[in-house]
């Protein structure tokens, strides 16, 4: 079996973005996931967002670990380089890649297994470094690719397909990210494109580490009754607290919002996220209160979605490291070597 490429048929009527490309220009190889898998909807949302942002296809670097979710980097943007690394270690590859070239957009796609068990350490440290990347977890509560074992995000009491009940407490990536100081934390649902697409746009434009935990049901191993990561359960128990609309630079905000309900956040490049608060008492710029709010809601059996926390003021990986503006992979050798004169000077210390 070799790599399947989708036949490229261009419809002249397809809408074009600012750089003259259609959505089809952002597609990738044919998905080999199960029909109905939530991950495919996330792929579609990524395509929509990247097309909408008019990012040049080669400007996006796609990184992933191992799992059904991690396979999806092959299913969009075939004009950008992809890297399917090893299980749970995508964040370190992303860190190195971002170190080498600060000018690209990095999207990391991972699973709940890839991120929350084998890759928990790397996930945490990519957040601590505030690597400038969008990190998407396609969270289905199971290890899909190894056939349905519980993952670390499985809720207590959630039932496996054959009835076994999970007894260990889950790791919540959103709570974890908040605790670790992540500067952009969101939760969404693969079935809610309207919510997810603007979040992806904002996350890509965010200066620093942007996490979106996307509930993405596994139809084959975790979509039955008794599962807390099924389509039905997520629809019933996940509620949006802050809706984010992405507003490109130099676009007027036209819609009307009730007093106290709208909060514009300006991103590094001048674009804005317009936050529509569904609970007026909620403040997505207050980390401590966000954590409290999430806890409270969870006790009531509700999972909060939307743009839960955002901070545009903190320094990203390159700012912390005081790196030069020119991508390191493009520095001329002459700028990097002290040369012969330099060597003479250096040798003086060791004579």
């Amino acid at each position: 079996m070799s790599f399947i490429t989708k036949p490229k048929i261009t419809h002249p009527g397809l809408p074009k973005n600012d750089i003259g490309l259609t959505r089809r220009d952002y597609e990738g190889g044919m998905s080999t996931l199960c029909a109905g898998c939530g991950h495919d909807s996330v792929t579609a949302a990524v395509i929509e967002a990247v097309w909408g942002l008019s990012i040049r296809p080669e400007q996006l670097a796609k990184l992933s670990g191992i799992g059904c979710s991690s396979k999806t980097t092959a299913y969009f943007d075939s004009g950008g380089h992809g890297f399917n690394g090893v299980h749970g270690r995508m964040p370190s590859i992303a860190t190195g890649a971002a170190a080498a070239n600060r000018d690209l957009y990095y999207v990391g796609i991972s699973g709940d297994g890839d991120t929350l068990s084998i890759g928990f350490g790397q996930f945490a440290h990519a957040i601590r470094r505030n690597v400038n990347m969008l990190y998407l977890i396609e969270n289905n509560g199971v290890y899909g690719l190894t056939k349905g074992q519980f993952s670390a995000s499985a809720d207590i009491g959630s039932k496996a397909k054959r009835g076994e009940e999970n007894k260990q407490p889950p790791v919540d990536p959103v709570m974890t990210a908040l605790m670790l100081g992540a500067t952009f934390v969101a939760r969404s649902f693969s079935g809610d494109k309207e919510q997810l697409v603007p979040l992806i746009k904002a996350g890509l434009r965010h200066n620093g580490f942007a996490l979106i935990d996307v509930l993405s049901p596994c139809v084959t191993f975790n979509d039955h009754e008794g599962s807390t990561k099924s389509y039905e359960f997520v629809r019933d128990h996940y509620d949006e607290v802050v809706h984010a609309d992405f507003v490109p630079p130099a676009t007027e905000i036209t819609a009307q919002y009730a007093e106290g309900h709208a909060l514009p956040v300006t991103l590094h490049d001048g674009s804005r996220i317009l936050l529509r608060k569904l609970d007026p008492s909620y403040d997505p710029t207050d980390r401590t209160r966000a954590i409290g709010y999430l806890r409270e809601k969870l006790q009531q059996g509700e999972h909060v979605t939307g743009l839960i926390y955002v901070d545009q003021s903190s320094s990203d990986f390159h700012a912390v490291n005081n790196t030069t503006a020119t991508p390191l992979n493009q520095m001329a050798y002459e700028k990097l070597t002290p040369g012969r004169k330099g060597m003479e000077k250096i040798m003086g210390r060791y004579r």
Binding site: M1, S2, F3, R56, P57, E58, Q59, A61, L63, T73, A74, S78, G79, G80, H81, G82, F83, N84, G85, V86, R89, S92, I93, A94, T95, G96, A97, A99, A100, N101, D103, L104, G121, Q122, A124, H125, R129, H318, N321, N322, T323, T324, A325, L328, N329, Q330, M331, Y333, K335, L336, T337, P338, G339, R340, G342, M343, I346, M347, Y350, R351
Partner: protein, 611 residues
Amino acid sequence: MHTTANAQDRVNDFVLKLANVNGTGSASANTLLMKSMFRMGIPVMGKNYFPSNIQGLPTWYEIRVTREAYVARSGRIDIMVAMNAETYQRDVREVDPGGYLIYDSSWPRPTLLKRDDITILGVPLARMCNETFKGVRARILLKNIMYSGVLAALLEIDLDVMRALLAESYSSKKSLLDSNTQALEIGYNYAREHFPCPLPTRVARMDKTANHILIDGNTAAALGCLYAGATVGAWYPITPSTSVMDAFKSFCQKWRVDPETGKNNYLIVQAEDELAAIGAVIGASWNGARAFTPTSGPGISLMNEFIGLAYYAEIPAVLFDIQRVGPSTGMPTRTQQGDIMLAAYASHGDTRHVLLFPANPEECFHQAIDAFDLAERLQTPVFVLSDLDIGMNDWMCPVLDWDESYKPDRGKVLTKAQIENLPTKFHRYLDLDEDAIPYRTLPGVHPKGAYFTRGSGHNQYGGYTEDAAEYQIVLDRLRRKFERAKSLVPKALIDASGNQAAIVSVGSSDGAVREALDILKSRGVTLDYMRIRAFPFGPDVEKFLASHSLLFIVEQNRDAQLRSLLTLETPIEKHKLRSILHYSGLPISSSCIVDGVLAELGNEKRLVNSG
């Protein structure tokens, strides 16, 4: 005074050992002593035997003064400065007959002084320090400088050279310079007054160190990374590799900060562990930066999965393995050549890697640069297998010169224009030039150059595959690529004069072998010698092995790892090989090799005679 050896013999040819407690500041005195003799034109070698501890455990420093410029341990001790009560008895025992022992006689320890074949010299160091200096810490530190002064008188080290060195160290701290100079002189004067100075064991000016430096291998390796144009370094601290990144950082702070913007033309990631360190190196190299990670055995063990990914997905990566004593945590501050097999085949499945074996700091510098060129040319991980002895000890080597014409070999990377003009889609793993090395593209350059990097099965076009034939095409090319490396890696160094028997060694065993060859020659045994500098072994190595009937493989590990690799990777007949193994954790000495060779030759003769 008791003397057994001919006194004349010991001028510029002796070993001085300093026994201390770690954390008491003895390092600066060690450097002062060694460097002052070096500046007098006398070849010196320093070895630091330190504990894996911050304060309070025994530490020794050995300075070999060697007019022949040997670089290994000789195995003898002529002068012991015994400053550690804890190890005093053992230190007294170690001195060779006819030697000297210097101790702090502030509190007499008569019961311990039980040897009449050596000369014992007591100096009331603590008492004199307490009388002269204020502050507990200052007194402890200055005691070291004071015994340096004692040694200056006994060994006839030029006091002005020592004063000048102190002035360099404390150029901005006048008060420290004054107290240090005072301590030095107190020690010096005490010795002149109380002992017949100089001793027959002493130094005399030479001119054998001009155009030489004293440098450790880790600093030299870091300098190599700087000159290779490495921009990304990722690491997790581990002895004895830590000083590679420390040195790289300080070189970068001096040479890699843009004078106009104040911005850094480098980025160092202190990773959360070695898995992340190698992951970052792979990510950065994939993205077209020169990236490296320094580590030691435990780190390589952790990195195995990623190393296989870089091998199979053909991503350059440079790893410095500063070997220490294993297995497991082992003895972190002792040296060994114990990672040869680990590195050669690191990771699961059919993997094999390019290894470089520096023997001294000079080679650490050059092979660091070679490593980047080879990694990018061959699109594969390259290991520089140094060790604690090379990495952390100061070695005398020729001043490093820089050839301004050097251009990094960035390998087969397509430019934007080349991608634009491709007649077809870009195919990542196609052997277009039939040299087993495919072309690669970098992210962000051109959409036509995009491909998918994966550690899962892939065909030569870069596509996912589970097809046997497609998989094998790529795997077989990787095998051919490794064959090609044979002609690109540094050649072995060979000293041959038609002898039937020869020594083969690697890395830091070289110094001891060279000295052993001289000693053996003086006893009528001449041997050829080959020092292997890289894996895969080239035709030069095979030819040397084939043309000798008896080969001593000298290495510093228990399991004869170099010998194993030679038997696996060359057609050498096993019965020709004899191992000389040293794995105490201390650097191998020439006497160990001389004894090993002579014992074996004795056996051979007996065999021949009885046959």
